[in-house]
């Protein structure tokens, strides 16, 4: 009898495993984790933020079909799927953050503040308070992500409107400008007072510099420090084919994850990080030859990820639902590359970086994969073919995490149970 039950349960497992694997909204996850589609087709969802009661706000790249660029989602019947969805606002953008009873959202040049009532509904959708405005938007790398420290300061990335600070952007043979004038007003993280209205550059402070384009940033409340993930420069092979082959360009430079203290300089545009040499290398626009090492004044990355995968959000996990190893570690979403062409693209997953005593330790790993939706996880040649591209990350009140997609606008919910 016992044996029969064993056999039965093995047969049941063999039958149910592939079914379960197919479920999970198409994602591949570590054992014990499951995923489902919390929402879909809400419009290209960049960052997401969650209130204490579990209401999700998603900032859209552009207004969706209904003409809204901020969407509020609520799972009122608690079945893991949003059942109350509405929205407002006309401005595209990326950043969104919930702090107490305030909701902050960013356009590509400003940061606005809304007030939430006791049901986490926005009281003043049409009349937000302007916290910061006049931030540089020259299209390239214009999204303004935001996070807060444990006091009430906002940190916002202002991406460099350039690839490598050449005199003529992305023009073969054009030299790098010395010093790079872009760094005065972009290519770094700026700090503002979260409670003061109508601030602009002169009211803020450049907190960290030499960062080409940061989209993912988060405050590590455990070590009380800012962490940012940079998008490394493009096109080494197309500008310097005699220094970099297509295959080398596909691996150089690393996408870098930094712990940023006030005044830190990560070195863009003067250096880039070569993951195979484990070194900061002088950019060819500044006299580099693919080997010459850059100045040691520039920051070392905490983690170097494979090139061009485009880190979109950082989330330090403070929940209790996931196994202990995830506590205080960092999840990082990767949009998926385009600059590895003609080689196949990489990314389209959420990675995990373990932390101990406030420092990144050990090897990073792929946490959730399969967003691109290819058969059997096949490589993708062209990013426009990816079904979903991971972007925003947020942690729910029960310790589940949510991942947004900025193609059609899916939101995945990932949970763990023993």
């Amino acid at each position: 009898m016992k044996k029969q039950i064993q056999l039965l349960s093995i047969a049941f497992l063999a039958f149910s495993l592939p079914v379960l694997a197919q479920d999970n909204a198409g994602l591949k996850l570590p054992e014990g984790f499951k995923a489902n589609l919390y929402a879909n087709n809400i419009g290209g969802a960049r960052h997401i933020a969650i209130t204490k009661s579990g209401v999700i706000f998603a900032k859209l790249n552009n207004p969706n079909k209904e003409g809204n660029s901020i969407v509020r989602l609520e799972d009122a019947n608690n079945d893991g799927v949003a059942d109350k969805i509405n929205g407002w606002a006309k401005y595209g953008g990326t950043g969104i953050f919930v702090k107490g009873n305030s909701l902050y959202a960013s356009s590509n040049e400003a940061i606005f503040k809304y007030e939430l009532n006791s049901k986490d509904e926005v009281v003043n959708p049409l009349a937000p308070v302007t916290i910061v405005s006049g931030l540089i938007d020259r299209r390239q790398h214009n999204s303004k992500s935001i996070t807060f420290d444990m006091a009430n300061n906002i940190y916002v990335n202002i991406g460099a409107y350039s690839n490598a600070c050449q005199e003529k952007d992305r023009m073969p043979g054009s030299q790098g400008m010395m010093p790079c004038p872009i760094l005065d007003s972009a290519g770094g993280i700026w700090k503002f007072d979260g409670s003061k209205e109508n601030q602009t550059y002169k009211d803020g402070k450049r907190y960290g510099t030499g960062l080409r384009n940061v989209i993912g940033l988060d405050w590590n409340t455990n070590s009380n420090q800012l962490y940012v993930a940079q998008h490394g420069r493009d096109q080494l092979n197309s500008f310097y084919p005699n220094l970099y082959s297509d295959a080398q360009n596909a691996e150089i430079p690393a996408e870098t994850f930094y712990e940023i203290k006030e005044g830190d300089n990560a070195g863009w545009p003067y250096v880039y990080y070569d993951p195979s040499q484990h070194k900061k290398i002088v950019s060819p626009e500044y006299g580099g030859d693919s080997k010459k090492e850059g100045s040691s004044e520039f920051k070392e990355p905490a983690v170097a990820f494979p090139a061009h995968m485009a880190p979109m959000a950082v989330l330090f996990y403070t929940g209790n639902q996931f196994p202990a190893k995830y506590k205080n570690g960092a999840f990082i979403s990767f949009h998926g590359s385009w600059n590895r062409a003609p080689l196949p693209q990489e990314g389209f997953f959420v990675a995990f970086v373990p932390f101990k005593d406030g420092k990144a330790i050990g090897e990073w790993e792929i946490f959730a994969n399969g967003f691109a939706g290819t058969e059997n996880g096949a490589k993708i040649a062209n990013p426009s073919k990816a079904k979903a591209r991971p972007c925003g990350l947020a942690q729910g009140p029960d310790g589940s995490i949510f991942v947004s997609d900025d193609t059609k606008g899916a939101i995945f919910k990932i949970s763990y149970s023993k």
Partner: protein, 142 residues
Amino acid sequence: MVNLLMNRAIKIILLSCFLVIAQYSNAQNKINGKKIYETRCLVCHQSDGGGVPNMNPPLDGATNVNGKDIARLVKIIRNGYDERIALDGMYYNNAMAANPDLKEDAIADVLTYIRTSWSNKAGVVTTSQVKAALLKNKAAKK
């Protein structure tokens, strides 16, 4: 009578020679255009011409690429493009660099390639069309 037949035969032979040569040079154009595309354009517009969502526009199926305004296409290739206008209803964030060193025949070849590849079935672009477009663009600048 014999003469007349001869005459016709010669005409037919000449015509077919011409057609074969024309076909051959179109194919040559496209091969050269593909080479230029792979070294200068593929990184942004991708091997399938599908572009990169929100960053670089698709060329496959794009209205302008398949359209009649050759002068505009020539100008984009020569001078680069950063206009912040909607292309088939979408906006793109990257900036396209100029190609000042691409000669007239090379511009014709790469335009021929993008207009006749993937699902695109617009016509070839000739060197003389490119020359005319450059003159027109120059006149418009003055």
